[in-house]
Assembly symmetry: C2
Homo-oligomer: 425 residues x 2
């Protein structure tokens, strides 16, 4: 069985590795258009911030590792430019044809780039990071404008601020981080202000030059890399990303997809959603790789759980905000509770927790949590509760761990769940 | 309705507060035998360590707060020495009778003290802490022997070590932290060794003097304060603590119990267990207080989730260890996975995760996690999974949050769950 995997970062390598574990005899080839595989793309903003020393530190595996340890052929600088599914082959930019029996499409996404210019950057690949880093070092810009208030935009804004630049953020919507939530956006805006980052919401940027900054970073979102598969006949969802079934198979039999190029079932709405993130790319890749070898695994879906650090503050979300829930047909109610991650006498820091539930079904729908410490573990608890379809009543009764260095006797998350129950009753 | 609550620390004050919220007219009195209420008893070892400045910092509320803000009468120095349930009254040491319609017994537990002496201490109440602190300051002991390798014993051992004493720990069993788990005990023993604390397992101490230490701390466990209620006819469980139903009512109608004096249903075994901890004391108190006012709330039970800091390392458990599971009639399988709390390039520290499941039912049974960082959130995720009766298969698919400052793209907990699934298959 010849398995070809297109894409050598998160989803592609997860797929290839899992396929190898389940099928010792498969002939597995990974085609990566770039020159580097397996780098932690989520670490790129921290490379710019200076917290990570070099791109090499971000690179987990080399092609040689995959060749030698996993018997997986990895071909870098091998961009696929055509798919002939009836003949079961892909064409590389070089003209070479690579045959397959099964294909895993993990070609990711690319940044939407409305502008270009010598001082205009994005931060999506290793190359983008190197180019931006060179510019910062060589041109020593004093001012930076970041277009886009999503995860990458805000991580980059604080990274550039930490490097001493004067930074502004320009965002088209009125809410930040793709969350459509006024409360969360307000908390984030306050932190940006504390970092002395100028935030312009509800602002459409018509040209990079108009911002008058030495450096412009575009982080206005991603476009899934689906064109070749779409030409080959694969179906796309409403988001524009590939449609897959619960086995991660596209509408073309024998072609699986995983990662930023495809949709997945949202565990709260039960409907397809496109939320490109590294964690879910890995998880989808596992399932796509397994099923490409003939297994019948199911991808359980995504909750959109994510966390980002903005000026020292952790901002985490899972599931739906009230506004998102309303659009999906729920009748959301929400509570916000402020507590501490530890007792005050143990240097506890503030943590604010927003929980959302459906008034009719009493189902928990989502959460947002912000604070300088203790955010990740708590959002993961809610993500677990969402996966288990727990009601707020049950969440309020979870037996969480406590000792003064690690928490409070009654966790603010438990308090929030109790308050939610009260609102629902 | 006259409600009397016996005990003014965690469970008692939770019960009284909840009762007031649900019944504005009840006449509520809290009887506390000590002179101080509402102090964070779990903070006492950290007071000794010097991380907490004073007992006052540990005190959350004063009697005046309860009187003025919640219309709850709080009587300190009011030890109950008798219960006449047929007449619905308790007798104080002063001889005074206090009548009640409903009683919440939250009298806690006391340390088992096989030894006494000028240089022999325990650490259970505020007074114990003051006495130990005075001795440390005035006598400047050079060596300390801690009898008992449970939570308090090990917290105290590292606290005394941090103050510069030469410390030994003497423990009767071969496993530490009441967990009956060789793997966990070994990890803890290694850390104690690194702290240069001498550990003597499987060692019965016959006299405090025989240890030849300037200071001896006894932390060999607790005894529930149940004698008066037992005399009044209340039933006790196999542990010796009070039997309660799911509404936290004892076998005596109208008398509820909560906290360290009573058992509770273990959510994994479904059977009564006695695991005295501050978190569950609060939770039980809430339910006991509600039901004492006529509500019909159910206490969902305990998982024994706990965390402790030992020489900078967090050690956390929830549910059952393999050995405990075997005794409860399960056929446990377990896996241990070592990972990092963050990427290596982001100064990630090692986290080791042990997961236990039942071979027959595939149910998740418990976990133990150790590491210098990132332990609390992960044990809470497993505690949530236990509450939801999730299978390892489902745990492996939870959509956890990730960004380099807060985690890894594939969390070690997810890897552990996957490995557990593989062992079960």
């Amino acid at each position: 069985m010849k398995l070809v995997v297109v894409g050598g970062v998160a989803a592609g390598l997860s797929a290839a590795s899992r396929a190898r574990r389940l099928d010792r005899n498969a002939d597995i080839t990974v085609l990566e258009k770039g020159s580097r595989i397996s780098y932690g793309a989520c670490g790129l903003p921290y490379l710019i911030e200076g917290q990570v020393g070099s791109l090499d530190e971000l690179t987990v595996y080399t092609p040689a590792f995959f060749e030698n340890e996993r018997d997986i052929r990895v071909r870098t600088n091998s961009e696929v430019v055509g798919i002939q599914h009836s003949r079961r082959e892909v064409t590389l930019r070089s003209g070479e044809k690579v045959p397959y029996d099964r294909l895993v499409w993990a070609a990711g996404a690319r940044p939407a780039m409305p502008f270009a210019g010598r001082n205009v950057f994005c931060l999506h690949t290793d190359k983008d990071a190197l180019r931006l880093e060179s510019f910062l070092r060589e041109q020593r810009p004093k001012t930076a404008a970041v277009i886009g208030g999503g995860y990458i935009g805000l991580e980059l804004a604080t990274a550039l601020r930490a490097r001493g630049l004067e930074v502004s953020v320009h965002h088209e919507a009125t809410t930040l981080l793709n969350r459509e939530d006024d409360w969360l956006s307000k908390r984030v805006a306050e932190r940006l202000e504390r970092c002395r980052i100028a935030l312009h919401l509800n602002t459409r940027v018509n040209s990079a030059d108009s911002l008058g900054a030495d450096l412009v970073v575009v982080a206005t979102g991603l476009k899934p890399n689906v064109e070749l598969l779409a030409e080959a006949g694969a179906g796309l969802g409403r988001s524009g990303a590939l449609t897959v079934d619960e086995r991660m198979e596209t509408t073309l039999s024998g072609i699986y997809a995983a990662g930023d190029c495809c949709e997945a079932r949202h565990i709260v709405t039960g409907r397809p959603a496109w939320i490109p993130l590294g964690t879910t790319a890995n998880r989808m890749g596992r399932v796509a790789g397994a099923n490409a070898t003939g297994a019948r695994e199911r991808f359980e879906g995504i909750a959109g759980t994510a966390i980002v650090r903005i000026g020292g503050m952790a901002v985490a979300v899972t599931g739906l905000s009230s506004q998102q829930a309303r659009r999906e047909g729920f009748s959301p109610v929400e509570v916000v509770v402020e507590g501490r991650n530890r007792p005050k006498y143990f240097h506890g820091r503030k943590v604010a927790i927003q929980l959302v539930a459906d008034r009719n079904s009493r189902r928990l729908l989502g959460a947002a949590i912000v604070g300088d410490q203790g955010v990740a573990g708590r959002i993961d608890v809610v993500a677990t509760a969402l996966a288990a379809k727990m009601r707020p009543d049950a969440l309020a009764e979870v037996d969480l761990a406590y000792a003064p260095p690690y928490g409070t006797a009654t966790d603010p998350l438990i308090t929030a769940a109790h308050q939610l129950v009260k609102v629902l009753d």
